[in-house]
Symmetry: C2
């Protein structure tokens, strides 16, 4: 299939129809009116702004999440922004129908209106980066900058976003660490088209620094500090935020996700296909067959999780899984990989792929140098003792089975765990080479590396 043919077919699927656009326009009009009304009623001085992909006209067909920002004058105290912002959000939420309180840097209201998710986020009405006081304040500036610079390339952004979703490299959430929508927009604006961005996957990485707004000339000192900091932290890209020279738009982009983009861009340009944008659902092979093929074993921990948003839960799951990886390696087990996620509404799982279920009943325990006080102690306290060079070693009786080893590690507090998960992981159910029906596919994707692999 030719590149042009693929692109035109994708565009048919992702560009909103006129009907859809009309619906969105209507929706935004109604929301803005309700917000103004409620603000007036409560006597709160705010300006409503639409931000995000809807406001920038870079949303994908069918994807209508609304971000409605409630911007307070700059001289409003922060406490008042929080309180009045939440109060107003709740009032609007009530009018719209159902709503709940969500938590980011500050609490905000998440409502539902005409089948669409609407976030009502209090912020400051900033004019430029010097005014920025909370993490969300920049969004208004981002929206403005994109609208001023996109120059009709909206569908090119849509293509890039869909491509990144298709190859599982989209999303700047801490547990994804992929390309954000704003980063996709900047790349298209900078390089002119979807195809150009893909062709420059290698060039962009080598160039390293992207400065679409010319901050390195306008504010060299601040911009250079940003570049230096991000390069020192070994980020794959430094994209100086067009609206704030202190910020790297790609700060959360991981090497792994850039790597996916790097290889998939090349593959797509060589052999264009719809598959990149809309991968056919993984068929879900047999995880037990995978275990047999590899000769490895799967340990699955199931445990309750406290009520937490994914942004908080996932990093803690990751930390815990890495904790097990480290602790078990220390105990002589080979850990081939880990996987973690939610399991139903109130539970989570951690999977560990391990080289074996049992280890020897003894371990070689390294001690101190022999001619020290600690050396003499070690010699006295241990039964079978020998020397390698100056260092004493002893044989130590250990638990043989991995489940016993994990229990002991948890009892002795020798696994680094996410702080809200410590208690619940200690009470985890542990399964060996077996998972509940609803995790079978997850186990297969993990073991086969279809989940994190670049190619199979």
């Amino acid at each position: 299939m030719k590149l042009e043919a693929v692109i035109s077919e994708v565009l048919q699927k992702i560009v909103p129809t006129e009907d859809e656009r009309a619906f969105v326009r209507e929706l935004m009009g109604e929301l803005e009116e309700i917000a103004r009304e409620k603000a007036e009623e409560l006597g709160i001085d705010v300006k409503p702004y639409f931000v995000g992909s809807l406001a920038k006209d870079t949303y994908l067909a069918g994807d209508h999440d609304v971000d409605l920002f409630l911007a307070f004058p700059l001289d409003t105290p922060l406490e008042e922004v929080r309180e009045k912002g939440l109060e107003l959000g709740k009032e609007i939420g009530k009018t719209l129908g159902e709503y709940e309180i969500a938590y980011a840097e500050h609490p905000y209201v998440r409502a539902k209106y005409r089948g669409v998710k609407v976030d009502l986020v209090p912020c400051y009405d900033v004019r430029d980066w010097k005014d920025v006081r909370t993490a969300v304040d920049r969004s208004i500036l981002h929206t403005k900058w994109v609208n001023e610079n996109i120059n009709g390339k909206n569908n090119e952004v849509r293509l890039l976003k869909r491509f990144l979703k298709g190859i599982a490299a989209y999303g700047s959430e801490i547990y994804v660490r992929g390309f954000s929508g704003y980063l996709s927009e900047i790349l298209v604006i900078k390089y002119g088209s979807f195809a150009e961005v893909l062709e420059k996957a290698d060039f962009i990485l080598r160039q390293k620094v992207i400065d679409p707004a010319g901050w390195l000339k306008r504010e060299p000192e601040i911009a250079m500090k940003t570049v230096k900091r991000e390069v020192e932290e070994d980020k794959p890209l430094v994209v100086i935020d067009p609206v704030d020279p202190r910020r790297n738009v790609a700060a959360n982009l991981s090497w792994e996700k850039y790597g996916r983009f790097y290889f998939k861009a090349d593959e797509f340009l060589r052999r264009p296909s719809l598959e990149f944008f809309f991968p056919t659902g993984k068929t879900g092979g047999d995880y037990l067959a995978e275990l047999r093929r590899k000769g490895t074993h799967l340990i699955t921990l199931l445990f309750d999780v406290p009520e937490m948003v994914d942004d908080l839960l996932f990093p803690q799951l990751e930390r815990s899984a890495r904790g097990f990886e480290k602790a078990l390696s220390r105990e002589g087990f080979g850990v081939f990989g880990w996987n973690a996620g939610r399991y139903g509404a109130e539970k989570a799982f951690i999977m560990l792929e391990i080289d074996r279920i049992d280890r020897p009943r003894v371990k070689i325990h390294p001690g101190p140098e022999f001619f020290t006080e600690r050396g003499r102690d070690f010699y006295r306290k241990n039964e079978r003792v020998w020397l390698v060079g100056k260092r004493l070693y002893a044989e130590k009786r250990v638990k043989e089975n991995i489940i016993d080893v994990i229990r002991e590690l948890l009892e002795k507090n020798q696994v680094a765990l996410g702080k809200n998960l410590r208690e619940t992981i200690r009470a985890a159910e542990m399964l060996v080479d077996y998972v509940p029906r609803s995790l079978e596919n997850e186990a297969y994707l993990f073991l086969s590396r279809e989940k994190d692999g670049l190619k199979q």
Copy 2:
């Protein structure tokens, strides 16, 4: 048992009787006469010297090996010393009865006379260290120095030597790396008695440098160079040779053997017993029971060895065993230890204690950084590929069973082996959790750590 009582009982066993002394004197007289006669017959200008423990009267009862050195004038060319020395040795050997040629730095004759082993070693008739030209030349000086300084402490030396043999720390051979006879003599001369040497086990190590002949004053530059060199090489002790300031008498003493001495000296002084001098033969437990107790496995390689003296064979066996240890660790097997030795007259064995027989059928194969030429190659060439940070990884099919793994490692030349053993080890017979009858005890001593352990 009191220290004095133990010592007096040991002395009864190790001090030669008057009869034995008379026999030794007679033997030496006869040997000297034969040597002089033969030298005269062949017209070779040499002086016979007795060196070693017989000449120093520090030999243990029943242990009569004779070292008869044939000393050539200093102006003899080295080639002549080799040739004439060997010729004379052979003539003497013929007169004594059976003999063979042995090889050290130079070939020499090893004969048997009246049931006693007699080494006939050509050397130079050196007056002091500046004359020393071959490795054996110092022996005459050592004998002279000990005899001038021992001051009647001969039996104290016998006690120390017997103690060191009992705790398996005696012998300066490259494959033992323990205390030499000469080092034992120096320690007794320096510290006055057997018990004093034991009491100073910790002090001696801390003091580090022993200089019985005062070289640091007489030849400060040369002696300091020796000290510096040996300290840099992290030797446990630096004993400046009383007859040669360039040499550390303890150069071949290992930390392991000093450690044995260190702990056993302390234990003996706390609870003196004959057991230290004459350990009751290891009873030889059941090696299969040891394997079951530990949950480990034993791989034994049996192979032919070319005709080689122990001094050459053992370092090569050690190098090969360490080679296997390293290569198998790289392949993901845990190696608990190794053991090697002769097996019958023409074979040798290497034993490896391993944590398991089988490993998974796949291995995680780390690749290069993704954005390089090599990265793109790696991506193309491998099937399952993923990223951790910038680095590519791939799954690699590997041999599962350790015997197959060893065969493959040997085929691919990935085990560092002793140079004369390469071919023969490649053709080795390999046994898993089983050894021939005559190695059962060896296997037990190895697995139970009775062989190299400090305590059981």
